[in-house]
């Protein structure tokens, strides 16, 4: 009796200690609102349906979505930093942004995001961002033009004898390394030996394809439009944009071989007014695996949720970058190297493109 009493007492003591330790964390109050900047349209609406509304219901935080293109978002973020009045909490970032724009971003403590650890793929949580959607920059081609033999690799993209017709390449966002990477792959460089990029060799190879590039597309809408209107027979495209065109019934197909991995991250701005709510949302995003499947079907991009991709049938899974079949075909860029050499890459790209 005495012994059990002692045990209970010590157990109560330990419990009390644990509570004291846990209390401040639990009491970390979430702010009333959370401002999230993403591209609008389909992505914004679908996020609202599957993530913003449920988050609002369970955590009682009102989410204020801001529809904005990524470059404009960075310009605004920079302006906010200059004036000292930060208005966005969560922004959309690319892989190189997480390395090159750390001066604008809040560091993320992955240990405090248990759901991301539990349900996300191994590299979903990065020091400055949490993976939202993953796709690839891949070859999209017209299936009527290339009926008998389909182009698969970047070498095929460069091969205008075997696969004649006008090409489309991006002049937007990260094209300053996407396109040189494709050129090096076309020139026979092995994916694992890409980095550090041999820029001179890449541009030599790019000179070859240049006369055959009819369109340097600037937006996701435009790359879809040039595939529909047959302005080009083959283009480097965002996989999600290509998938949407495939679903429309346009005779185009995608090749995942040597697709360049393109992950969109959620990052938190330094000085974000609703920091606690922002971190809570990042964790919440991975907490509900069920929402990921309809979300992926709607936006045509995979999330980094391990559990969600397993819920899909193999033939559907193959439309997404993170399926086991496609994921190993992806070219994984070295963001640290790209981040460090960003100015050099950009200036070379601009000089070559405007020549």
């Amino acid at each position: 009796m005495l012994r059990t009493g002692w045990m209970w007492k010590s157990a109560a003591f330990v419990l009390a200690l644990a509570l004291c330790g846990a209390l401040p964390a639990a009491a970390e109050k979430l702010e009333d609102q959370l401002v999230i900047a993403t591209t609008g349209g389909l992505m914004g609406n679908t996020l609202a349906k599957y993530f913003y509304d449920p988050f609002n219901k369970t955590k009682n935080v009102e989410i204020v979505p801001v529809a904005i293109e990524v470059p404009d978002q960075w310009a605004r973020a920079k302006a906010m930093q200059r004036t000292g009045k930060v208005e966005f909490d969560i922004v959309t970032a690319t892989g190189p942004d997480l390395v090159g724009r750390t001066d604008l971003l809040e560091k993320i403590d992955c240990a405090k995001l248990p759901s991301v650890q539990k349900f996300g793929v191994s590299d979903a949580c990065q020091p400055y961002g949490v993976a939202r959607t993953t796709g690839g920059m891949l070859i999209t081609y017209n299936t009527e033009t290339f009926k008998d033999k389909a182009p698969r690799t970047w070498a095929d993209f460069w091969d205008v004898k075997q696969f004649p017709g006008p090409r489309g390449l991006p002049d937007t966002g990260d094209s300053d390394w996407w396109v040189p990477v494709a050129a090096l792959l076309a020139d026979g460089v092995k994916p694992e030996q890409l980095f550090p990029l041999d820029i001179g060799r890449a541009y030599k190879k790019l000179d070859e394809i240049r006369p055959n590039v009819a369109v340097w597309w600037k937006t996701g809408d435009q790359v879809q439009q040039i595939m529909r209107s047959r302005e080009v027979v083959m283009a480097m495209s965002y996989s999600g944009r290509a998938l949407a065109v495939v679903k429309e019934g346009v005779p185009v197909a995608m090749s995942w071989d040597q697709a360049i991995r393109d992950t969109g991250y959620m990052a938190v701005l330094k000085g974000a007014p609703d920091l606690n709510a922002a971190m809570a949302y990042l964790d919440f995003f991975y907490a509900s695996s069920d929402a990921h499947v309809p979300f992926m079907r709607a936006v045509n991009y995979a999330t980094a949720s391990k559990s969600a991709i397993e819920l899909l049938k193999p033939e559907e899974r193959n439309l997404y970058a993170t399926s086991p079949e496609n994921y190993e075909k992806l070219v994984k860029p070295d963001f640290a190297w790209i981040g460090e050499h960003r100015n050099e890459l950009r200036e070379r790209w601009m000089a070559w493109l405007t020549r």
Partner: protein, 292 residues
């Protein structure tokens, strides 16, 4: 006397408004200009020489990097082409408008002004449909058997120049029309009475007197063309990139504001110089016109 008339407002009974009321009338306009135009521009120029530290480095970068000079020169060249094309296409229309009477005159005026009511974006998009590989122009050429392969029309310098000329043409036609309208009919008649042929009347009387209109139209078109953004971005390839696209790239993608500010500084200097040169020529023409 003319100076006084220019710089004052008048009561309906003919008394001159006091200096204070004139100032009050003008204040809102100048306040808006100062606040939304002069202040931000000055602030940008300040950034261009003070960041990252007081320096002219940003300007040196504009001049040193061949890309920027190339884009600047291309911008000036495109604006020149558009201006020249606008004069050639616009003058006959303006001339016809100034001679036409009644319904015809109204119809021509509507045709000239109507495009101004639709957005530049819509007009540019319309051109892109015409110029597409499978667009109207290529389909027509192929249907007529004039070509078997579609021409590359979209994303070329010609596409940009044609569409920009279309967008800016009214700004050329209207000032020329104004100048032509202000030439008294008697001048033409006098020339005819003195035995001049119609061609000679046109070349020696009408054309010189209409030059102020041509100059102000050219100024308007040229300066607007320098800052064009949407049309070259949608109809041109990166080779047709103009200075405003470059500035926006520096601000949106590279986030290098001091450098973007330096680009704006260079463009501002160019535009100001050109405006001064143009306005001097304009006065000169007026003097010549008055003297003869």
């Amino acid at each position: 006397m003319t100076e006084a008339r220019r710089s004052h407002f008048w009561h309906s009974d003919g008394r001159r408004l006091s200096g204070l009321s004139t100032l009050l009338l003008l204040l809102p306009f100048f306040a808006i200009i100062a606040f939304v135009f002069v202040y931000p521009i000055l602030q940008l120029l300040v950034i261009s020489i003070l960041e990252p530290h007081p320096t002219l480095e940003n300007y040196a970068r504009v001049v040193e990097n061949p890309v920027h000079m190339r884009v600047l020169m291309r911008t000036l060249w495109t604006a020149t082409l558009v201006t020249a094309l606008s004069v050639v296409l616009g003058f006959p229309v303006a001339y016809y408008m100034s001679r036409a009477k009644g319904t015809v005159a109204a119809l021509v005026a509507v045709c000239v002004i109507l495009p101004l009511w639709s957005s530049v974006l819509v007009r540019t998009a319309a051109w892109s449909f015409l110029f597409q590989r499978n667009g109207l122009i290529n389909s027509a050429l192929m249907a007529l058997g004039l070509t078997s392969q579609p021409f590359k029309l979209l994303y070329t310098q010609s596409a940009v120049v044609i569409a920009m000329t279309h967008v800016l043409l009214p700004f050329m036609i209207l000032p020329i029309y104004g100048a032509l309208r202000s030439i008294p009919d008697d001048y033409g008649r006098a020339a005819a009475v003195l035995g001049a042929t119609r061609l000679r009347t046109f070349l020696e009387v009408i054309l010189p007197l209409s030059l102020p209109g041509v100059v102000s139209g050219s100024l308007l078109v040229f300066l607007t063309a320098l800052g064009f953004f949407i049309t070259p971005a949608l109809l041109g390839s990166p080779q047709e990139m103009m200075i405003s696209t470059l500035v926006s790239k520096q601000i949106r993608e590279v986030l290098d504001w001091p450098f973007a500010a330096a680009l704006v500084g260079v463009l501002t200097v160019f535009v100001t110089l050109l405006a001064i040169i143009f306005s001097k020529t304009l006065r000169f023409d007026r003097l010549m016109g008055n003297a003869s």
